[in-house]
């Protein structure tokens, strides 16, 4: 059997444990899809796979047990799914996904369902997908509606957490203390009561919106604009897993997309082409070039909102497996 594994991987198939068989990886940006696509995925699994579907850690589907020679036919069946989910596809129809390096953009359920979410995570995920696909560099991006971080975005290269900037309308406050209490008990105690009314410490505030939700009388209201916390360079892996650190607080939608796109240029410039599989987590590249070099590239032509707070430079620690064997 002669199969180009580099080519099939790029086409979003996988070399699996079972020789001669592959798995098809289906992108679902934001983890939300019309239920009708499920039966199309089922058809692929029943016709060319073994009637089984895996739900991936990144909210995609993976259909295993497909014979290498059936990949073209699977790609034909994938076509309506690719189109329906709005995946970029400038190549001829029916040839499947154009790349797989930049992983599915994952998101928590977001404000379509969750009352706590500060934005529509699925829509933003789709915006990012539109901008980045079919880039093949190894990027992981995830979004979450609020700092609860149900999506665990701090484990990603780019973690996006929804924020709102609470607006206080003093003439609606009845001094019940609900906002102070919820922030103290559930969040970071950014609110203190003064002269019967809440005072919010902007530096401490997470922008989670709990006070807005708790206030019974609309004294706290959402800001018109939506803001985000951007955490960067979280990762798992066998070398040095680490938690993404806060970089920019109160950033906006467009700046985030611009920063991600700029980072592709940066990685193209500095990636170690000899790395295993030609792929490197961005964080290791930053370790090599220094944070300031990354920042210079990433913020090129980005106009941050005036209230944005940039933390620089960033230091990561994380788990150092190697250390444990050093002594």
């Amino acid at each position: 059997m002669d199969v180009n594994t580099k080519k099939l991987k790029k086409n979003a198939f996988r070399v699996t444990k079972r020789r001669g068989y592959t798995a098809s990886r289906i992108r679902i940006p934001g983890g939300r899809l019309d239920a009708k696509y499920l039966s199309m995925i089922q058809e692929i699994a029943d016709t060319y796979g073994e009637g089984v579907v895996n739900i991936t850690a990144r909210q995609g589907f993976e259909v295993p047990g497909i014979r290498f020679e059936d990949m073209d036919k699977v790609n034909v069946l994938l076509q309506p799914i690719i189109e329906g989910l709005g995946i970029n596809q400038p190549n001829p129809e029916g040839t499947g996904y154009l790349s797989s390096g930049t992983r599915n953009i994952a998101a928590c359920v977001g404000n379509k369902v969750c009352p706590m979410a500060n934005f529509d995570t699925t829509e933003f995920a789709k915006d990012i997908e539109k901008a980045v696909f079919p880039n093949d560099l190894h990027f992981k991006v995830a979004l979450t509606g609020c700092p609860n971080d149900c999506q665990k975005v701090r484990m990603h290269d780019f973690g996006i957490m929804g924020m709102t900037l609470p607006q206080f309308h003093a003439d609606r406050c009845i001094s019940c203390g609900a906002c102070e209490k919820v922030c103290r008990r559930k969040v970071v105690q950014a609110i203190s009561m003064k002269n019967f009314r809440p005072v919010r410490d902007n530096e401490t505030c997470l922008g989670c919106g709990e006070c807005v939700i708790a206030c019974p009388n609309f004294a706290w209201q959402r800001s018109e604009k939506k803001y985000f916390r951007l955490t960067i360079m979280g990762r798992t892996g066998k070398k040095n897993p680490r938690l993404g650190q806060d970089w920019i607080k109160w950033i906006d939608h467009d700046s985030i997309i611009k920063i991600i796109m700029n980072t592709y240029d940066y990685v193209e410039e500095y990636i170690d082409r000899s790395a295993p599989g030609g792929k490197e987590h961005i964080g290791y590249i930053i370790d090599r070039t220094g944070f300031k070099e990354f920042e210079k590239w990433a913020l090129k032509d980005v106009t941050l909102p005036s209230i944005a707070e940039v933390r620089t430079p960033i230091y990561w620690s994380g788990v150092h497996y190697k250390k444990q064997f050093d002594y």
């Binding site: 934005f119 009845i174 001094s175």
Partner: protein, 331 residues
């Protein structure tokens, strides 16, 4: 007499009325809901017919217009005190039939309960009321059961019919603006039936209800947030707050601020004692005040059946269900 006007003519009316009055009405404000990307309907100043939300029930009621959530009663210093000017010298308020019945309750409490309240009375003067008739019931409404579905106490009505606005005027001030307008036959619609019906009992058995086990369910279900009383057009409890200004403790202000019998500290008294620790007991207090205490004093229930408390409760507690339980236990 009823008149039909197009949108441009109505907007002209709004600007003319605006010369004499502040105009308040329910407005739909996009993306201002408590949860992200949700809307809310609240009372605010309206400048044109586009600002006015005629089709939805407002989340909060009109009451803030005459009973501000927070109102400075006076400023003081060592030489004396000063009463601030009132918020408006006259207003046109758009509201629904149940709200007009709520207004009666407010008048009873603030003007017929001993000496009239100075602050309420001065905002209450020179108000005009424009009825937004309901042709069908909203969710959670039980106005028919509370006899608040019909009203005659309006100065003007407004209804949108096929892109035109139909007005019926009973007030000289308004009528003069319609001379020359298209006249038509018109009957003001009203709600004849709600999905929710509330059982009425002649005599509530207060003792049995107070002792009833029914309230225990609400000890855990209710989170004592107070939303239900704040949206209620007839809940009027307030508290006093004295603010002494930072550098000069002899100067300051006294304000009265809406309060809620559902939230902590409402009934905390000297020595730290609290009458109703349990949320279910607060619910009982609120419910009996709404239908028993007020009725004993004024012959009508305080609750007017708008259902706003049910609309807003984050715990899906239904006040009409509670009223029906009280009726059952009073048998």
């Amino acid at each position: 007499m009823a008149y039909s006007l197009d949108k441009i003519a109505v907007d002209e009316l709004f600007s003319k009325w605006g010369e004499d009055y502040l105009i308040y009405g329910p407005t739909l404000i996009k993306n201002t809901g408590r949860l992200s990307d949700t809307d809310s309907v609240r009372y605010d100043e309206v400048k044109s017919i586009d600002d006015l939300e005629l089709n939805l029930k407002s989340d909060y009621s009109f009451k803030d217009v005459i009973l501000p959530i927070s109102e400075v009663l006076f400023y003081y210093n060592e030489d004396g005190m000063m009463v601030p000017k009132q918020k408006h010298n006259g207003a046109i308020i758009f509201l629904r039939s149940c709200d007009l019945h709520a207004l009666d309750r407010l008048d009873q409490m603030f003007m017929e309960n001993g000496k009239p309240d100075f602050y309420y009375t001065r905002l209450r003067e020179n108000l005009k009321f424009v009825l937004i008739p309901c042709s069908k019931s909203f969710e959670n409404c039980f106005c028919v059961s509370m006899n608040s579905n019909v009203t005659k106490n309006y100065d003007l009505t407004i209804e949108e019919i096929n892109g035109e606005y139909v007005f019926e005027s009973k007030d000289e001030y308004f009528t003069k603006f319609f001379s020359g307008s298209k006249e038509l036959d018109y009957t003001v619609p009203y709600v004849k039936e709600n999905d929710i019906k509330v059982e009425h009992v002649e005599k509530i058995n207060n003792l049995a209800i107070t002792k009833s086990e029914m309230w225990r369910e609400y000890d855990s279900r209710c989170i004592a947030c107070g939303r239900c009383t704040l949206v209620c057009p007839t809940c009027t409890c307030w508290t006093m707050q004295d603010i002494h200004y930072g550098d000069n403790q002899k100067a300051g202000e006294r304000r009265r601020v809406q309060a809620s019998c559902m939230v902590d500290n409402f009934d905390r008294v000297a020595g730290g004692h609290v009458y109703r620790e349990k949320n279910g007991d607060r619910m009982r207090y609120k419910a009996l005040h709404k239908i028993s205490d007020h009725r004993e004093r004024y012959g009508v229930d305080m609750c007017i059946g708008c259902g706003r408390c049910d609309d807003i409760c984050p715990e899906y507690i239904s006040f009409s269900t509670i009223l029906n339980k009280i009726a059952k236990e009073s048998e």
